[in-house]
Amino acid sequence: MTVDLTATTIEIAGDGGDQIEAYFARPLTDARVGGVVVIHHLPGYDEATKEITRRFAANGYLAICPNLYSREAPGMSSDDAAATARAMGGVPDERLVGDVAGAAAFLRAQVNSNQKLAVIGYCSGGRQSVLSACSLPFDAAVDCYGACVVVDAPKDSPFTFTSLTSKLANLSCPMLGLFGADDTFPTPEQNEEMARLLHEHGKSFEAHTYQGAGHAFFNVDRPSFRPDAAKEAWGEIWKFFATHLSA
């Protein structure tokens, strides 16, 4: 059952104390609840990501999505900002971790936070969710089809993303992976390699790969949307969060 919520655009302290834009949604309840940091996809801090953020609040969680492109294109539309960020090589890993740390601190400071936090990311945000959970203390992490976790970004691209294999031993929490069987960024083989490495390090990792779905199957406003896969995957997220974000 969903609950009433309120959502607003705010500023938070990100990496290095920089003030960055963020979208904050919270359920209208005095009960102590868990929190979720939402990491947007490569196309940016857009309406679809804000809708996802509201969905977490409607399901009883404090949720915040930092605009990772705040510095490149302040106040610009999400597609202009994404184009600029892409041309500049994407978001540097260190800065991403700083911004997510700021978003997590904001959630923990809410009066009705139960101090349990998850991080979830989509597309490039999937990799960034893994990176965040390997760099910061979280109670749960979700990787939705993040590429470049076990391989580097293509050499001829401006992106500086490198494999996270050397960091996987530092994963701070249980992780859920949600992938499309037809995706090639990441491939099912790469996801299996990530699972192998995490299990080798004794980490808790549960993966679901959906047949007939490719990359971005959660995106309701794009042709990649696969309602059956998305519905099942949302169900896995709610189960996972109920287990790990309860006080």
Partner: protein, 91 residues
């Protein structure tokens, strides 16, 4: 998929964007999810002024349109008298 396969190049150009004409210093070419073109993937071109985020012209098109445009550009340049290309920096 988000392919991450992106070509980045320096350009010397003018483009007309949201706030009028601007000097473009960079361009990126990639094949990825379009924002507006109604397809799962498209050939994307962004012409940019990286010093000013409002300096952007974006294009999203299907692969055959992109190939036709690329060939048209090359044919056009091939047909230009050489002396004009040599003087391209002249005002």
């Amino acid at each position: 998929m988000c392919t991450y396969q992106t070509e980045r190049l320096k350009v010397n150009a003018s483009a007309k964007g949201r706030d009028g004409w601007f000097h473009a210093s960079d361009a990126i070419v990639y094949f990825d999810h379009p924002v507006h073109y109604p397809a799962g993937h498209a050939l994307m071109i962004d012409v940019l002024d990286l010093t000013n985020a409002s300096g952007r012209v974006g294009l999203e098109m299907d692969a055959s349109s992109a190939r036709s445009m690329a060939l048209a550009i090359l044919r056009t340049l091939d047909n230009v008298p050489v002396e004009l290309l040599e003087n391209e920096a002249a005002t």
